[in-house]
Symmetry: C2
Subunit: 449 residues, 2 copies
């Protein structure tokens, strides 16, 4: 077997300034792309070997897209043909030693001239370990595959029981969080209920399948314009989704969702889309961190440092227009990444840095077939079919990689004309952390695996 | 959590004869399709919820196709719209009680009028537990995803070590078994070595990457014509694959492949494509089983029974032309499934059954870009570009589902023109059965998962 002591980062020595980027998300890849050329050696660390296009993750979970369609291998994006001094390492960063300009990983340390933290976010369970244990988050590709298997297995199991109470609870799906992920997932599930499931499971009565969308604030899509929220709410109800506003979840034991106030919902599936927190890296002083995110100045410099930067969701840049930071979507990360590349070039030339100004290109959310909402610049609010067309166009446009675009367009056209969702395979075991009974169930069903 | 005692098969009562099919492979689906109509109630059991197109599995393992492209959900194939009395159950069959015409599953028993065993095969390690533990089989979709992750992780790790010996061993890939799976996999790996890997891993010297293909008999593709074997052998060597004929593997401890005769190869990856054995079901008398397969008469009836049948790879039908049974490929299974549907109709009408006669449509194997071999009916042997075109055409034609055809054609066209393989994502943990160090390594790298 592999002797792990024999592994090392193996980054070639260089006379160029070395930029170390932690994370291959929207911020990291846009920065890395623009840094190509003769001026820098660029090193990227990530725990995954691919960049994921997370806005489409809910479609993987609802069997509309294959996981490979929304992810692009990082090494493919920065292949040596067009990018000479780029070095990707599939390794976890364990900490920063800023006194010595060193970043530590599991297999060794590396000195940097410039360090960029672009680690994004992780699901936030607000300290509720029980919910963390039993709920399904939707943050990474394995999450989406787990959720897809869970949804399908619930239907399979529901068709294999005569116990009304159990069947009812298998067909109850509770989504916590009324942001884009929650809304889009609820819409996709409702579409499945209408178009796919009755044909796949003729023995089940899908009028008994309930989709709950639970939001703590007083409207869905709270970051969007109230008009769009209202429109979305109406769309959701038209699709038969039970929307509960100003409602908090108190606990979930894998079977009963307890809402604050005493109401209970029996459900085998709770999807947690209620919030995220920054994926922090150890080693920054306390004064550089606020509310789980890293404080930066308008040049993305971490407060207290000249050569450490943070971009994207992990960065907390307070500006007059955005006193609570920029929205946690792809656009600020992409724009910050691109600007930082320019600023790093200025920095080595001794030029003045350009402050970041967020160009808001608008927000979009889709609620099933032919229905979407869009807040566009200039206080323009669209909904319905036209917003839906914009949503499709924007998501294809920003999708990385020609192959991915091709596969996604093929899938969407196929779905549009057939109402089908082709990828409803159960390929991952139904194993939840700490859920022994589920693991036993799987083993019982798959003794060879 | 789910109370498993509350699960039951839940198959509606019927006055029609009930056909129970175990397995949704090539035999099972062709039988089930042809049984639609008013005459039978059809029940299908499978441990997976999809039908897999296994001839393309090696392309999933080598990042050429997404897993969802080569699999079709069984419920989608037999949707209620066109098939009224069909019932799929995702459940493992535990045994047959032929005295009472009953099949037992994990969640209950079911009486049958006709039982069809179409369970196919499983990898055969010939009792070598060490090889079973450390090698990578290639039989199911999770196998292909595991192998894909393993291949990519070997390259990632090789680029993170300065230890020559370890790097060498990470870049040695040993494929055991010179049948179609082994040959096609070796070819695909060699193509990756030429076209993808040098760009992805500029720090690695791929002239040090070795692909071994080890076959126990005296030629590759033993079921094909000797001319095709010879041609294939030359193609493989042209691609730089080390072919070792008349060579047996004695042991493998995860690091050293010991060949019979004393030669050793240091390799982190051993792919086991050396053989399969029947996936038997408990409960048949010993006289119905020979060499791990179920003995059947020319009507696919299991020896000793009138209402139990076996089709496809699990069936052992001795005929004059095929005294050792039919080849273990898709065609005999498909043809037997179709004929059995006809014969079951004849059976309920009291008509005479038609014996099976295998129509050999030929054999094909692909050895990378533009190169394939084909044995066609009429003793016609093709090789090179024309055989390659036939291979592509046949595989697209037999692929189930319009969406799958579309996705596979998109991928192949993309690959043909760009030399790229888009789906090289590591999405499954590198965990081998019993390999604690690998599990620890993964945990260390992915503490949150």
């Amino acid at each position: 077997m592999l002797n792990f002591d024999k592994l090392s980062l193996n980054i070639p020595d260089t006379t160029k300034p070395r930029v170390v980027i932690i994370g291959g998300g929207f911020g990291g890849i846009n920065l890395a792309k623009k840094l190509s050329g003769k001026h820098f050696q660029v090193v990227m660390f990530d725990k995954q070997n691919y960049h994921g296009f997370w806005p489409l993750l809910y479609q993987v979970a609802t069997a509309g897209l294959e996981p490979d369609a929304i992810a692009e291998p990082l090494r493919k994006m920065f292949g040596s043909d067009d990018y000479e001094d780029f070095h990707f390492r599939l390794v976890r960063v364990t900490g920063i030693y800023h006194a010595t300009n060193t970043v530590a990983t599991l297999i060794g340390d590396l000195q940097y001239d410039y360090l960029v933290i672009a680690t994004g976010t992780k699901p936030n369970f607000f300290g509720n370990e029980q919910i963390q244990r039993y709920s399904f988050p939707l943050k990474h590709i394995p999450d989406a595959l787990n959720l897809r298997s869970q949804l399908l297995q619930c239907f399979e199991q529901a068709s294999m029981t005569k116990d009304q109470e159990i069947r009812h609870s298998l067909l109850n799906f509770v989504i916590v969080g009324g942001g884009p992920t929650g809304v889009e997932l609820a819409g996709a599930l409702a579409e499945m209920r209408t178009h796919i499931l009755p044909t796949d499971y003729p023995g089940l009565d899908f009028s008994k399948m309930n989709i709950y969308l639970i939001e703590g604030l007083d409207r869905v899509l709270p970051p969007m314009d109230p008009k769009s929220s209202e429109k979305t709410h109406r769309y959701l109800e038209k699709l038969g989704i039970v929307v509960k506003l100003s409602t908090l979840v108190e606990s979930y034991d894998g079977l009963t969702v307890m809402l604050k106030g005493g109401e209970q919902i029996k459900a085998h599936t709770l999807i947690w889309a209620a919030g995220v927190s920054g994926a922090l890296v150890d080693g920054l002083p306390a004064e550089s961190v606020e509310r789980g995110r890293i404080l930066v100045n308008p040049f993305s410099q971490v407060i207290g440092f000249n050569n450490i930067f943070a971009i994207g969701d992990i960065a907390f840049m307070k500006t007059e227009k955005y006193p609570r930071g920029h929205p946690g979507v792809a656009q600020p990360a992409m724009q910050q990444g691109k600007l930082l590349a320019k600023n790093l070039r200025r920095l080595i030339k001794g030029e003045k840095l350009e402050p970041f100004e967020y160009l808001d290109k608008g927000s979009l959310a889709i609620i099933g077939r032919n229905r979407a909402v869009a807040d566009l610049p200039g206080n323009l609010h669209l909904s319905g079919f036209f917003a839906w067309i914009i949503w499709l166009f924007v998501h294809i446009m920003y999708l990385v990689g020609f192959r991915n675009k091709l596969v996604v367009i093929s899938n969407w056209m196929y779905r549009f004309f057939t109402f089908e969702r082709g990828t409803r395979l159960i390929i991952r075991p139904f194993v939840r952390k700490g859920d022994k009974s589920a693991r036993d169930f799987f083993k019982k069903y798959n003794p060879d695996s």
